[in-house]
């Protein structure tokens, strides 16, 4: 079945440093979503990417969808303590099932 892996599993950065997490799917995706989960909270939707090679920006966050639609990345510029949490990608297979499979997540800690 479909598997979605993320690297790294953990990342500690100094406040102001950049951060990137990578998401890789074993199958081609119809689209990919990114979520953020604060410690003790629930996942909150950040963005959805649909097109091959698509790049979207939200303030300091840049999201990219690979040309082959099997990988994606999230880059945060100049991290802040408010960026702390776990970032998940969620992929939808090109099957029309609306069965989103979540990646393993990257836990980000930002040291002030």
């Amino acid at each position: 079945g479909q598997q979605v892996m993320q690297i790294p599993q953990y990342q500690h950065v100094q406040e102001g440093e950049d951060f990137t997490t990578y998401c890789n799917s074993s199958t081609t995706l119809s689209n990919i979503q990114w979520y953020k989960q604060r410690p003790g909270g629930h996942p909150v939707f950040l963005i959805q990417l649909v097109k091959s090679g698509e790049v979207k920006k939200q303030k300091r966050l840049t999201f990219q969808f690979g040309e082959a639609k099997k990988n994606s990345s999230l880059h945060i510029t100049a991290t802040q303590t408010t960026d702390v949490g776990t970032y998940f990608c969620a992929g939808l297979e090109t099957s029309g099932t609306y069965k989103y499979i979540f990646g393993t997540g990257t836990r980000l800690k930002v040291l002030a």
Binding site: G1, Q6, Q33, Y35, H42, P43, V44, F45, Q48, F88, A90, T97, Y98, K99, Y100, I101, F102, G103, T104, G105, R107
Partner: protein, 110 residues
């Protein structure tokens, strides 16, 4: 606006007991999902539904059952609780793009 509501928030079960985790959404979404999240881990899809009367298995369906008699409700049933089912359970709903999650149910099976 309530969004996705899960009850209970916390529950402790003994091995072999059964229980139903409730999930209700008021956004008229067709798609609903149940995920479990073990400590420090990602979310695993248990079951999902694309509309009333239609459900399908996810990645880890064993030990669980679901039903979808209405658009709003998507309860998750544990028949014979086992320690391996200790986890945080999240329900989510979607219109086909953004998924909205409930606050979760923290379940311990002892």
């Amino acid at each position: 606006n309530a969004g996705v509501t899960q009850t209970p928030k916390f529950r402790i079960l003994k091995i072999g007991q059964s229980m139903t985790l409730q999930c209700t959404q008021d956004m008229n979404h067709n798609y609903m999902y149940w995920y479990r999240q073990d400590p420090g881990m990602g979310l695993k899809l248990i079951y999902y539904s694309v509309g009333a009367g239609i459900t399908d298995k996810g990645e880890v369906p064993n030990g669980y059952n679901v039903s979808r008699s209405t658009t709003e409700d998507f309860p998750l049933r544990l028949e014979l609780a086992a320690p391996s089912q200790t986890s945080v359970y999240f329900c989510a709903s979607s219109s086909g793009s953004v998924a909205y999650f409930g606050a979760g149910t923290r379940l311990s099976v002892l």
